[in-house]
Amino acid sequence: MQRQNRAVGALDPVTFEVLRHRLWAINDEQAMIAARMSGSPIVYEVFDFNSALCMPSGDGLFVGIYNARHAAAMDLVVKAVIERYVDDIRPGDMFMTNDPWAGAVHQNDYAIVAPIFWGQEIILWTGMTMHEEDVGGPVPGNMTVGARDVYGEAPIIPPVKIVKEDQFQEGIEDICLRNSRTPDLMALNFRARIGCQTKTAQRVRELVEKYSKETFLRIQEEIVDHVEAVVRRRFLDLPDGTWREMGYIDHDGNDNIFYPIRLAMTKRGDHMTFDFTGTSKQAPGSINCTRVGLLGGVMSAVLPMICYDVPWTTAALYRVIDIISEDGTINNANHPAPCGMGTIGACWETTNLVTQVIGKMYSCSDYYKKEVHACWSPSSNSLVISGRNQENRPMTALWLGGGAGGGGARSYKDGIDTGGGISSTLAARPNVETGERLYPFIEVYRKQRADTGGAGKFRGGVGAEWLIVPRGNPVPITGIRYTHGVSQPEARGIYGGFPGTVQAQLILRKSNIHELFAQGRVPTGIDDLTYERIETVPAKGMVQFDEGDAWLFFASGGGGYGDPLKRDPQLAARDLRRGLCSFEVVHDIYGVIVDPQTLVVDEQATQARREEIRQLRFSDSQLVKERPAELPLRHGGERICPIGEHIEVVRNGDKSYAYCQECGYNYGPATQDPKLGALMRVASIAEASPLNRYGLVDQVIMQEFFCPGCGTMINVNVQLCDEPLLVETELVLNRSFKEGQSK
């Protein structure tokens, strides 16, 4: 479908382009104003907020480029308001909610939405969601360790009028402020939400005055049609098939139990289905998300990966994408499931899996391969801190410090080192000086942590490591941890790439940090300190620390792409120079031999070392399935598409097979997951990175899959010991698919 084929009465291309640009700019302006006025570092540094414009029906027209998981669900807030208030929506009204069953991902996400009227008719909705540092409830920051249901978490405000016909409802605000540990912040943020939308309403009215109401409504429809057309076309250009991924959330806030999330993504023609059937039942702990988080989680990967060059119009995406998850599961939880950690829990893990399946699908296209990225750092490895600050004032804050994970590897280059997260691409980290001024800590060091990124032909970006010690704290500091990917590496690699590492937090009790300082020494790693004992902080937990204790963190890097033995040895040497890989990993995993003094690569020794690793792969593994005798050798034929870096699908007459691109080995019919024709070896997660020793090495394993012909690694899976084999790639070649045919 092309624009010139649009219906009669369509807007001329110039008005279309002008108005589309204008509305996009208006939404971004709304976001920037709100961020400037906000007082929360999580808003103005980490950009955990978003802005959206919705159509009169509530469908999402534009989502800002900030935290995609909020605005992807803003249409749900508007629809909840429309459903609840029906005829009682008037000019000058604004509605507020933090209800996870009405458009908030968790209770911290207060959304305010506002209708814009023209006469008596609603012509647009605006919305602004921001994460609040504290919204009440038993645990600071609402990262509710210990909750068993939603009644054990922060209070829920269903959609209410916070502004009634231009009158700010102070009583409503009072309810929220009274419950919060950070009322001043909340008050400032309410003003930011309302102020920015007031400005947007002015802008929109000016636009309607100039272009007429009819044109303004029409453009909204056309924007949706336009984005839909682009996405459908993109889908048509990609091979059909089903790609699967699974992941776990470890620890539910009460017990360290693994909760699997399973995803099968099927792409057929110009349509895509994300099916999470088989995902774990909702948990008796705060890691769940509701359908809001499910949609937000899917969109957080779909928007940046599929809509990388078109406006973020969710209404269009819902026309071409179906999202299925059974009722009562951890990413589609029913009331009264607790969901205080839903954003960084089930919602974020949903994003991780969607990133993986889209990445795998793109890996099966020579044209779209450039858009691949493996899973990014799988969740935020930070803390809520609570207690009193150095001025002895009450303190509750999401401490953002050095926490930065790495980006997923791409098909043509490494992931971004300390690149942050995928769902919130603009998220920044505060300066050390900003944190030390606000909170009673010294950050002892902050560095890029070698070996945290998943190895691969292109490796995942590394995460950071940092160490904090209390200083000038009047009372012990309570730290609340809320992450996952602690027991298992959760940032999976793609087609032969290793996963990023586990994420750790360690408390070095009664360390010698102050003695070191007094001696004029600055430690830059755990080995530089002595301490009474190490406490490993669980993925979720509430822990106190005090003078003399040192809290060490490292964040997972991204997953890798392709076999690490195919990595350019010069890149491995560069990583050594930049402190992004250790000698150990360069030698053991990449098989690269480097002079420790000059860091120059020894090409010959490298070749020998790589051959040695290849031989080990053969001796250590067995075929997944018995090999049928009749598989033909590669002989001519037409390349249909790749499967990742090392396999290609070739059609010869009416038969298509998957062949090793390196040695021509036939893995079997193209529609069967090649790994079923591969060698498999069960490995310890500690083999992917020395840092994985902090995970549950005896419960979580890696399965490595190799080409039986040449030993090239084509897949790495991470799973529990007793998990059945994941069938992850099933191409469908039932039409005369020719890649990039519309290009």
């Binding site: 302006e29 001043d184 400032l188 942050g420 950071a464 004029g520 020494r521």
Partner: protein
Amino acid sequence: MYCIAVDIGGTFTDCVVVDEQGETTTSKSLTTSHDPSQGVIEAVRVAAAQLGCSLEALLGNTSHFVHGCTIATNAMIERTGVKTGLITTKGFEDTIPIGRVLLKNAGLSEREIIHISERDKPDPPLIERDYIYGVSERLDYRGEVVVPLNVGEIEAAIDALVLKGIEAIAICFLWGFLNSAHERRARDLIRKRYPQLFITAASELVPVLGEYERSVTTVLNAYLGPKISGYLDNLQNRLAENGYRFPLLIIQTTGGLTTAQDARNRVVMTLDSGPVGGTLGAKFFGELYNEDNVICTDVGGTSFDVSLIHHKELQIETTPVIGQYTFRVPKVLMRSIGAGGGSVAWLDEAGALRVGPRSAHAVPGPACYGHGGDEPTVTDADLLLGYLNPDNFLGGRMRLDRKRAEEVLRSLAEKLRIDLIEVAHAIFKIQNAQMADLIRMCTIERGYDPRDFVLVAYGGAGPTHAIYYGMDVGVKMVRIFADSTVFSAYGMLTSEIMHTFEASSPMRSPFTPANFAHMNSILAELQDRVYRQFADEGIVTGDVQIRRTFAVRFRLQRTELDIEVPDRQLNQQDGELLRQLFDEKYSLVYGPGTGYRKLGIEIMTFKVDGLHRAFSIKVRRGSLNKGDPSEARGSQRAAFFEGKGFVATVVYDGHRLQPGYVLPGPCIIERMGDTVLIPPDFTANVDEFYNIYVVMNGG
């Protein structure tokens, strides 16, 4: 005596010479990137020839030579600075590589940011990791010593760096802006050991909170320092050899002038100093016209730059970005998009027409240049619409090939199933709309209403589009300058000498007696530095005007607003005044009732500007009389206007316009380097300074 300004651009080096009567002589030479001073001298030589004298005679008779350039910017973009080391607090060697994570996106457009698979941190980086050395030392948030400086480690680090061949060294320690003792100690040690090194210490250059931006600024300065200071010395020498007897003056990021001698130590202050000239010129004329608020628009071949004058003041940003690195110097705020004469028109995947941001650049340029360009550009569209004269482009130096323009536009037209002129007009309109959107972002987003502004246009392609984008944003008047293509150089001559010093000293509860005493002492110290700098240049305190600014915010916020405070000792009673100044500013920017006074305010940074007007130029001024414009009238040609189709349109020779002329639209005014387009229902007026203005209200 003459005043001379030279602005080095990507293709041309522009020169403007103004005599005591305000008569201007303009010239251009090709930019000589291997040694830019050569192009500077050449441009001045051409101007001298026009004045009928020798280069030496002109320079010998020049009292002020002002210079702006983008050499520092280009050196950063092309990574041609010197090998540089950084010495920082042990444990924080990765501050720049981590780049607060925002390094992957900073300064990029939204379109670039959402394309995540293409995002990355810059590679090669500003500084390689193995040129960054940490040394044991640590201060806390009050500037108190936690770990004393380890002198032995400094020596070891600097020896290792020198072995690696560095020519410049940056020093930046955590919290060093509150207590500079460690940085000073390190600097002195290094200076003693390796006197040939170019050294920049953060606490001297940029004593403000935020170690990432402070480190970047310090490294940038060291990295660019030897090259830029070498260039400035070279230019100063060449000018002196050819007869110029006074200090070379350099435009800084703030729009103020300083001596080359001062600039050589703070070269970050010269980044992008060329384009600032246009903003200064607009400010100058804004004052002559008594306009408070001006939108400055500069349209070149590849980009569209917008800056603002509000209440007669320049708008300054504090965290500009270069090559994705955020640094920390006050800089005239300028926003750019890829929208110029060379912007390429194309169809996206769904068949929608788009214009830019990619450009055909100067080479091959638009298809109609006939230099091998095969993509349709804005200039091609302008030509087909009859706005440009194919035989009189760049004063007749270039012929435009209409046929080529038709060919490249035809393929678009066929795909869109509209005719050639429709597609050309669509490109024209989309381009104008994008420009208008950028203007809105620079005004509305910052709380300014475009209806309170006059818009000025300059640069080669500005005058053709200005009335349209001006109309779109709803400004009250559009002004188009006479010497539009060298306007940035001209603007530099309107500047004054300016020295700025700032320091962070965060005050969470600012209004205690102790804090007022502290404020006064910080201000006194900054002011003293300003006066000393002027004294070095032989300018006495009495001739210096002082401006003092606080960066203030509500407690908890991150973004500060600047408020100007009176130039006197502050005391307890001033708390209310400061609060009130902040409230007023806050309402202005964010809207009435959006503040939350209960929170209280905090002061983050203190800044003192010292200003001294070293010289003033006169402006050529004619007398307004109701002359008959027909003497400037040339032939007619058909130009396309919406709703009217092709209309026979009068063409005027822009160089024969006299003050007082009234030129009803539609008409076209052809000048040396540009073409002014006046649509139907608008009227161009020539004012006493030979500039054109168009009243927009009711237009």
